[in-house]
């Protein structure tokens, strides 16, 4: 069975500093992986996705993630945090039926 583990339930950074949100996955085959962001009272929005092409995936708003098969990781990074990045972030893996399996989420806080 496929699963994801988000290693931090809450991350706090200062504006302008790098962001790192950690995600490990478990899959019996080559997975498709995603990062979604959820702002308060808004729908989930896809940030980026990995589907067995380039291992470094660039997404919207300056975010990127690197697929590392040897480490079973798919960490999300951004060089410089902005106040508007404060939100809940979900790492997601899809199973063979393309069903999305979400992690528990990481809440990102950005301090001025």
């Amino acid at each position: 069975a496929q699963s994801v583990t988000q290693l931090d339930s809450h991350v706090s950074v200062s504006e302008g500093t790098p962001v790192l949100l950690r995600c490990n996955y478990s899959s019996s085959y080559s997975p498709s992986l995603f990062w979604y962001v959820q702002h308060p009272n808004k729908g989930l929005q896809l940030l980026l996705k990995y589907t067995s092409a380039a291992t470094l995936v660039k997404g919207i708003n300056g975010f990127e993630a690197e697929f590392k098969k040897s480490e079973t990781s798919f960490h999300l990074t951004k060089p410089s945090a902005h106040m508007s990045d404060a939100a809940e972030y979900f790492c997601v893996v899809s199973d063979r039926t393309r069903k999305l399996i979400f992690g528990q989420g990481t809440e990102l806080s950005v301090k001025p």
Binding site: Y36, N41, G43, L44, T97
Partner: protein
């Protein structure tokens, strides 16, 4: 392009009462999903439709939950009777080209249900 529309946005009911949620997907999207998101957790799939057909309802508690998508467009999710543990955010999502294609899911804002 209008996004996924859900109503109501908030609902407070007493336990044992019925409740219904409505979703209108993005125009042209043939695949529709209902998720439940408990507080502090990620969403979990309840049911997936391809057009009018429910192709995956394995996670839907069928004793009290029901869903329909009669014309392959909008959908209704119902709970009868509601229990305290049903308090959650109910999310609707849609995607185009079927779940075997691009299948990027677009989510609505959700309905926050509180059962008292």
């Amino acid at each position: 392009e209008a996004g996924v529309v859900q109503s109501p946005r908030y609902k407070i009911i007493e336990k044992k009462q019925p409740v219904a949620f409505w979703c209108n997907p993005i125009s042209g999207h043939n695949t529709l999903y209902w998720y439940r998101q408990n507080l502090g957790q990620g969403p979990e799939l309840l049911i997936r439709y391809e057009n009018e057909e429910a192709v995956d309802d394995s996670q839907l508690p069928k004793d009290r939950f029901s869903a329909e998508r009669l014309k392959g467009v909008d959908s209704t999710l119902k709970i009868q009777p509601a229990e305290l543990g049903d308090s959650a955010v109910y999310l609707c999502a849609s995607s185009s080209e079927g779940w075997r294609g691009n299948y990027e899911q677009y989510f609505g804002p959700g309905t926050r249900l509180t059962v008292t």
